[in-house]
């Protein structure tokens, strides 16, 4: 079943058109990647889904039309978006970040269980719960962002460049975790990445964006073999 479907999505920033009609599908339970260079429209696509930029076209999530809904309402439908820069609530403590992740939920007992579950993925969190999130390293902030997103109990996780500015070994760790969460909980993930080789290892399907258009799409292993993808994005 397709959980998220984008049809002819066009978005403009003032006079500049950032998306020229994106078509994409994210099947439930899968990991899908959006690849492309800087300015290709990857981030804008995520922002259009979660209502942070105005767009035209159609964006269907789980049977709802979410185009141009307010971000808070999209979040309430079960879309957790870890934005560019990780959206860390820097002055709040680690624990408060996680509580904010569960802000929209009323089921207190389940939230408690989820806190334990999330701490299972990130065992360092309990020891540092009282620290302001600003004191965490970049990798830890990225993990906290994912943990915070999980606290929402999302149906769909949107990740914007989770590898940005992190050491390869940390990236490895984070990507393994994303894969594990996807496998164990069946969580659907749409990830934006500039690092194509990593993304193609992580995702089952991928879309390649160039200046606001989808220029290629397919299964990850297919794309990894594709000549032009290899030249432009994988560098060999």
């Amino acid at each position: 079943m397709v959980l998220l479907e984008l049809t002819q999505v066009v978005a403009t920033y003032g006079p500049v058109r950032a998306l020229h009609g994106i078509d994409a599908q994210v099947p439930e339970g899968s990991i899908v990647a959006l690849l492309g260079a800087n300015g290709a429209g990857k981030t804008t696509t995520l922002r259009a889904i979660s209502g942070m930029v105005k767009a035209t076209g159609r964006i269907r999530f789980d049977g709802h039309e979410v185009l141009n809904r307010r971000p808070e309402d999209v979040a309430r439908l079960g879309v957790a978006h870890v934005p560019e820069g990780r959206g860390t609530l820097a002055q709040l403590t680690v624990w408060e970040n996680l509580q904010m992740g569960a802000y929209i939920r009323r089921d207190r007992n389940r939230v408690k269980q989820d806190l334990d579950r999330v701490c299972g993925y990130f065992p360092w969190i309990p020891q540092r719960r009282r620290q302001p999130a600003a004191l965490l390293s970049g990798g830890e902030q990225q993990m906290l962002a994912i943990a915070r997103a999980l606290m929402l109990r999302p149906r769909l996780l949107l990740l914007d460049e989770p590898s940005l500015g992190l050491a390869p070994i940390v990236v490895r760790e984070i990507f393994d975790l994303i894969q594990a969460i996807n496998r164990e909980e069946g969580l659907t993930v749409l990830v934006v990445e500039q690092n194509a080789s990593l993304a193609l290892q992580l995702a089952r399907r991928a879309y390649v964006l160039e200046v606001g258009r989808v220029v290629l799409e397919g299964e990850s292993d297919e794309l990894a073999r594709n000549e032009s993808v290899r030249k432009s994005y994988l560098g060999y």
Binding site: P83, E84, G85, R86, G87, T88, A90, Q91, A134, Q141
Partner: protein
């Protein structure tokens, strides 16, 4: 779209000379057709036009918020009052002197103000506005304190056959007209362009080699000069001065006048002056307006507040902006709907002023 490049001659002709002619006719018509109180009120309008011209240069063009220009009016007013009442100096001589003293104070305040922008400058000048009255009261042996100072009413010179009010009217409007011209020229000059560049973005202005501190301080000085002259004229018109006239309300009415007229517009101060003087009077006249036990007489504050909100929402460019819109609409109508737009409107279009832009993504700022 701003007044930048407005010195392009054809635009100057249409935008300045035509309204100037209309203004002249109206100016000479008013004292001939109104009673002495109304003439006096229109003299007051000129006083406020002068002060608002100055505030408009500071806030509308250089983008520095001032809630404290009433302080400079106080300097001008007391300079004139003290020189005339204590030393017997002819009041006409004191007018430029008041302006210069206020300008000096303006520069002195403009220098620390360089380091404050946006809301902080608003806070500091707000405090300045509140401080005027107690300071004047404190030095009562010098200023006369609460009791104030009386001046001899200014009579028409050279045996002119005018009533006192008519003479004051012409005096004030003559000064306003004389001061309108340099303000208009400044806006179109290098200085004006530098101000607007600073207003629209200091970083870019610095990159273009504009000395921010020089131009911002200059704006404060010139603005204070206008306020000082206005204060001086006001003392002459009222023939009386006391500390309580320089309350927060005065500074606020200047800002209200500038905003209502249209910040960053050439003719805005004239409209602003009219509103600031006549609205309270009309509110007073509306004393018959009752709503249950409440009488709306003499409460201009509410009217000013509502007018500000409505204008900020529907026409942030003020009355001048509205007039410009109406004028362009009329021209399009006359040209016929099919005609292509000539791309240049003849009115110099005022633009709403933007100071420090609200941070869009504070999240990023803090990481």
């Amino acid at each position: 779209m701003t007044a930048t490049g407005a010195l392009n001659s054809s635009r100057l002709r249409a935008s300045t000379i035509f309204p100037a002619l209309v203004a002249l006719v109206v100016l000479f018509g008013i004292p001939l057709t109104t009673d002495s109180f109304q003439t006096f009120q229109f003299a007051n309008v000129a006083v406020f036009v002068v002060a608002i011209l100055g505030l408009n240069l500071l806030t509308g063009y250089s983008g520095q918020i001032s809630l404290g220009n009433g302080a400079f009016m106080a300097i001008g007013g007391y300079t004139t009052a003290l020189l005339v009442a204590r030393l017997g100096v002819p009041y006409a001589l004191t007018i430029p002197l008041s302006g210069l003293l206020a300008a000096a104070a303006g520069v002195m305040i403009g220098i620390p103000a360089l380091r404050l922008r946006g809301i902080y400058l608003a806070l500091a000048t707000f405090a300045l506005a509140l401080a005027v009255t107690p300071v004047l009261n404190n030095f009562d042996s010098f200023t006369g304190g609460h009791a104030g100072l009386n001046l001899n009413p200014a009579a028409p010179p050279f045996g002119l056959d005018l009533s006192n009010e008519q003479w004051l009217y012409f005096l004030c409007w003559a000064v306003a007209a004389i001061l309108f011209l340099p303000a208009r020229l400044l806006i179109g000059s290098r200085t004006g362009r530098a101000w607007m560049a600073i207003r629209d973005g200091e970083t870019a202005a610095t990159a273009n080699g504009i000395s921010i501190s020089f131009y911002k301080t200059l704006a404060f000085g010139i603005s204070a000069f206008y306020a000082g002259v206005a204060g001086s004229l006001q003392a002459v018109v009222l023939a009386y001065i006391n500390p309580d006239s320089y309350s927060l309300t005065l500074s606020l009415s200047l800002l209200i006048g500038a905003v209502v007229g249209g910040l960053g517009s050439v003719w805005g101060p004239v409209l602003g002056g009219l509103v600031v003087v006549w609205l309270p009077y009309l509110a007073e006249r509306a004393a018959g307006l009752h709503l249950g036990p409440l009488s709306f007489g003499g409460k201009p504050d509410i009217g000013f507040g509502i007018l500000l909100l409505v204008l900020m929402y529907f026409a942030p460019a003020g009355l001048a902006g509205l007039a410009g819109r109406a004028w362009r609409w009329y021209r399009r109508l006359r040209r016929g709907s099919g005609g292509p737009a000539d791309g240049e409107s003849e009115m110099v279009e005022p633009e709403p002023v933007e100071t420090a832009e609200r941070q869009v993504e504070p999240d990023q700022m803090s990481t």
